[in-house]
């Protein structure tokens, strides 16, 4: 089974801070990591490789040349090879254009199973995975938290707010992983050393031109654009109520709960 894991290098949003003076996002010096959902996807893929003899795990990322670091980390975890989709024509792509580019690369590489993270912590869109599946015309199962291999198919647990679906899906297909899917392993020293020897294949626009319509990618090929962005208003101090009777206190709380539509 040829397993592809799509990963994204993202800023660690827990470390994002707002400049208290300018009220803007401090963009420099934020550590970058492999998106957490994607990392669970890598782990699940490696686990499947162990269970299904003859499988390989290829990790794919689209991004600037620096995203190579995330791919090296994935190789050190044990992935077989790594591919970086990178080119200036790809810059400014929204989710639809991004999924168009990645699906072109996947057509070129070939696949039996594609795993993506459910969503990236910088954009939180959860859109690129299902859009790739649509471009490739294969079934998708999103919010997956358990995968069991079967002959030519997978049994997966799909999470909803109030239920699970136990689903059989035939290969080829695309799954989006949530963090509960697997606890990622650490890089090993051996893995890190081996990784040094490995080449990361780079796919640029020319390499994918047979599969790509230039008008459907990049800033110009993106249906959606950011008009502007702003940081949220800093939180101001609320009302502190003293000397209320318990009944008055309850009324004050109930009024607030009502205001925020909780009752």
């Amino acid at each position: 089974m040829k397993i592809i894991v799509c990963i994204k290098q993202v800023p660690d949003t827990n470390e994002v801070e707002i400049d208290p003076v300018t009220n803007t996002l401090i963009r420099t010096g934020i550590p970058v990591i492999i998106n957490p959902d994607d990392k669970s996807g890598i782990e699940a893929a490696l686990d499947l490789r162990d269970k299904v003899p003859g499988s390989t795990v290829t990790v794919v990322s689209m991004g600037p040349p620096q995203a190579e670091m995330a791919l090296r980390e994935a190789l050190s975890m044990g992935c077989d090879d790594a591919i970086l989709i990178s080119g200036r024509q790809f810059g400014g792509s929204d989710t639809l254009a991004t999924s168009t580019i990645i699906s072109a690369a996947l057509k070129k590489i070939g696949y039996d199973l594609i795993i993506t993270g459910r969503q990236a912590i910088d954009g939180d869109t959860a859109q690129v995975g299902p859009q790739i599946a649509e471009h490739l015309g294969i079934p998708q199962v999103s919010y997956v938290e358990e995968i069991t291999p079967e002959d030519g198919a997978l049994i997966v647990m799909r999470q909803y707010e109030d239920r699970y679906h136990k689903i059989r899906v035939k290969l080829p297909c695309l799954l989006t992983a949530i963090q509960d899917l697997a606890q990622p392993r650490y890089m090993t020293v051996g893995g890190i050393v081996d990784t040094e020897q490995k080449d990361i294949q780079i796919l640029d626009f020319d390499a994918l031109s047979d599969f790509l319509d230039p008008s459907a990618i990049g800033l110009k090929g993106s249906p959606t654009n950011v008009v502007r962005s702003y940081t949220k208003e800093p939180k101001s101090q609320g009302a502190i109520l003293k000397g209320l009777t318990p009944d008055e206190a309850v009324d004050a709380i109930m009024a607030r709960l009502h205001e925020v539509h909780l009752i």
Binding site: T13, N14, L25, D94, L96, D122, G123, T125, A126, V128, P130, Q131, E134, Q140, V141, S142, Y143, E161, D162, R163, Y164, H165, K166, I167, V169, C173, S222, P223, T224, N225, V226, V227, R228, S229, Y230, K232, E233, G238, A239, I240, L241, K242, G243, L244, P246, D247, E248, A249, V250, D251, A252, I253, R256, L257, H258, E259, V260, H261, L262, I263
Partner: protein
Amino acid sequence: MSKDIFVFVEQRDAKLQSVGYELIGEAASLAQDLNQQVVAVLIGDKVGHHAEELIAYGADKVLVVDDPILGEYMTEPYAKAMTAVIKEKEPEIVLFGATSIGRDLAPRVSARIKTGLTADCTALRIDPETKLLMMTRPAFGGNLMAVIWCKTHRPQMATVRPGVMQPMERDESRKGAIEHVNVAFSESDKTVEILEVVKKTRTAADITQAKCLVSGGRAMGGKEAFGMLRELADLLGGDVSASRAAVDSGWLNKERQVGQTGKTVRPDLYLACGISGAIQHVAGMENSGTIIAINKNDTAPIFGVADLGIVGDLTLILPKLRDAIKKAREKGVNYTAPSSEQYVGMENILYHVQNDIAYLTINRPRQMNALNRKTLQEISSVADKLKNDDSIKVLIVRGAGGRAFVAGADISEMQNMNEAEGREISLMAQEVFVKIKELPQIVIAAINGFTLGGGNELAMACDIRIASSRAKFGQPEVNLGLIPGFTGTQRLSRLVGSGTAKQIIFTTDMLSAEEALRIGLVDAVVPPEGLMRTSRDLALKIMSKSIKAIKLAKKSINEGMPLEFSQGLLVENDCWTKCFAEDGDGYEGMSAFVEKRKADFSKAPKRV
């Protein structure tokens, strides 16, 4: 040509999910701006009987796709149904709930149609010039808000976060059309096979996913007391968490600990009970939507991050709170805040003071804050209280709920009035609005939405009007066979000139915020999300000056305006003279200027 706003109405087990009603409510507001219709798309197995309910909640039309294959959610059959509807009807806008179904379906459909999709929006509006949908969404873990549009592709699609938008009030008299759409399904549409459906019972605790957390600290006193928190959490559809002190005491498991060494949570509501709020705890919960804290100790640091802090005894408050929530759940009781020194709540308005600025919020969002007799009485009583309150310098007047400042007078209340009653309500409203105008405080109207009829008259009673770019203004009375009678004919003509005032009143045409600014009906227009910040900044700026001088300036302008010029000059001279009086601020202000230091008007002026 694409038109109308479509809403994907989510159902599970043939039960409609509340996000559908919320989206219809929001779509209705957008549809008004576009002069288009709201179309609900109901997809499922034997769900057609819900169509009338969707109309009662504001859908102009319901499209039903009903087929056994659509029972339990599967991506492909739903994507096929939604695509068929979109291709046949060519909507302008399509909205989905950002649920685990909506976020699976919407991207699949967007890629099939080849149009843009914006995820997890928290605000939507129509740009008045381009008529494009402006979609606002959080990014970078909520640290940044981005406004996104989809200029050339149609439909414009968005998933919208559940719980953010407001449904309309259910009204069975609403009329709408119901249409069944036939989609031909085949076995090959089942690209996956559902082997089993497992309903969730309460699984291992994951407090980071809870929409509401009831959290306990050391002051809860013991393990037993957490039973009460569990009851509250269940009633609110949330979960229980704790501070480190409570976890270390063995009252709750470590997996439920909030804070630096526990979990970082971001629920819509965080109810902190007996938590002092050490910095390590605050780091784990400060980004929660609404924080309510109850603590005996009024210096507890938790109050520094709370939206609402109650200083009081938990053991007395929590059981009563539980009963009140139970009652509200059963009967849908409307709650308003109580009266106290700092926080006066009444039936239809909220009044509170924050950082020395007073806020008067007209709080009937479901009725677009329409003014009825009770509301006018409550505004009047706040004005009476403020008249003699020297500690308050600025009052901000606003409307609750995001759609309207005040959309007018309550017509249903006036419908059957006779001549005498008509005269009486006008006299009463005039008196209230004159009281507002004559307040010693500086009054700022923060105008967020529809400001019509009595609403516009209330806004004009304020000293300064700041409008959101989304606000709309008008005097629609003549449509109802009435005239503006809450000061409108007099104030509007004095504010914008009699010709413009007549045009507004005679045509009833609504004005955009920009037009209102052009004719001087409002004094500034700001983006919707900056409205309260701008109003507050303006208040703080005013408060940093000599408030005595500012009040005298207000008095001079207000009292001089209706007079003949030379008479007005006498009023001015009188007010100017008071600046030089013993208790005037003139001496301190001018001395500071001469001495090249910053004036301090807070101290009582001293003359050497």
